[in-house]
């Protein structure tokens, strides 16, 4: 890549503008994908991958991790590791617990919970109603 050739030099305005352009293009891509009718999984994957690439561009070039690197890269990598850890392990718990230990009427309550003797829960939830078809504005 072009940036690699300048790895040991400081970036100039031209490089910054190129990164900026790339970020705008990526933003456009996310919005465009959102407008498609692809499956939710695909859209989530694309949106998060694009966000990660954008964040990487900002961190490496605007925030100079590319040139300075060293211990600061380690700091950032460590904190991101712990971010992944916290989110990952908490979700792992929610995804595998006793289904009715999750909040009532969340996705893990797959059927009507129990027989007559179950004490009633505090709030009877309605199903999600009035889902808008597309963005209202």
């Amino acid at each position: 890549m072009e940036a690699k050739a300048h790895a040991h030099k400081e970036f100039g305005p031209l490089q910054y503008v190129i990164v900026w352009g790339a970020l705008l293009v990526l933003t456009a891509i996310t919005v465009a994908v959102w407008k498609t009718h692809w499956s939710l999984g695909t859209r989530v994957t694309v949106a998060l991958s694009v966000a990660t690439v954008k964040a990487g561009l900002v961190a490496l070039f605007f925030m100079h991790l590319w040139e300075h690197g060293g211990v600061n890269r380690l700091v950032m990598a460590t904190s991101l590791l712990f971010v992944a850890l916290l989110i990952g392990l908490v979700i792992a718990d929610n995804a595998t617990r006793f289904e009715y230990a999750n909040p009532p009427y969340s996705s893990s309550w797959t059927r009507a919970p129990f027989e007559d003797a179950a004490p009633p829960l505090q709030e009877q939830p309605p199903p999600v109603e009035g889902v808008p078809e597309a963005a209202p504005h």
């Binding site: 919970p113 003797a117 179950a118 004490p119 829960l121 505090q122």
Partner: protein, 354 residues
Amino acid sequence: MNELNELMRNLLWLPKQASDYARSVDHLHFFVFGSAMIGAWTVVATTLVFIVRYRRRHALQSTEHVEPKPVHEAVFIGVPLALFLAFFAIGYPQYVELQTPPKGASDVYVMAKKWMWKFAYPGGPNSTDVLRVPVGRPVRLLLTSRDVIHSFFVPALRLKQDALPGRYTQTWFQASEPGRYPIFCAEYCGLGHSAMLGELVVMPAAEFDAWLDEQRRSNQVAAQDGQPVAAEEVDIRGNLVEQGRRIAAMQGCFKCHTVDGTQHIGPTWLDLYNRKVKLEDGRTIVADEAYITRSMMEPNAEVVAGYKPVMPTFQGKLSAPEAAAIVEFIKTLRTDAPTAEPQKGPIYVPISGK
């Protein structure tokens, strides 16, 4: 083997083992305790030997530079790790067993609220603070809470499970020894946390079946929580004062209010009726029927001075006749009338405008 079990159990002050599960957990406990003790005291003894053997002979004594060989560190890591993983390898399957109720276990619904336990069996029978189960049959508990997190804890079963508000958790057990065992709340839940006691009664299976049948047949058992007893039922049973006492007990009033004059979380009921009470906001009020009833429905509106506004509302949990019955019961609690002879017939005043 059994003697060794009893010896270790008493040595460690553990309560009786009321299930096979409790026994196997204890055996792991003994293994962990024993190996930990051997390991730890070996280190302590080594330290003491070194202190004596290598005591300082003169002030500026020099020492040689000792570096460990890799094998030392490997042993330091390997031995405890093997032991710890062995603990886990035994303990985790036990935990999995506890989390996986067997098919065919009978269900009991456990509802915790400040500060009492309610147990409900399929088909309607329920009880407060006393959980009856048959010996030798698996029982699954489905726990929930009305307010904050509580934790259902039976030391004799080595079993504990939090009860979360608005959702269910589950656990199960199969008691092997008939008897009566205490139930504690193990998750801090406020003023009455330590008074939130219950009792597990393990009965012979036949006795339990008979009890459950009788409960199902009988109208004596009130309907579930949240479905107040109909007014006629109160009337039919006639003895309003006795009824009030029973309702008060079922609703858990005595967790906070005494009837013998002792100060507790809430004001005592003894001599409460027509007493002049000072409120938090400085007003003085006479505790008549209206005030007592208001205190059940909107407990934190007029709090007696010196008490915390911690009482939950009973709006929707007590019907008007039930509330009236409790008032009637309170009226009888007088020091100048030690023999509070239950009055006959319904003499409550219906509360209007509720």
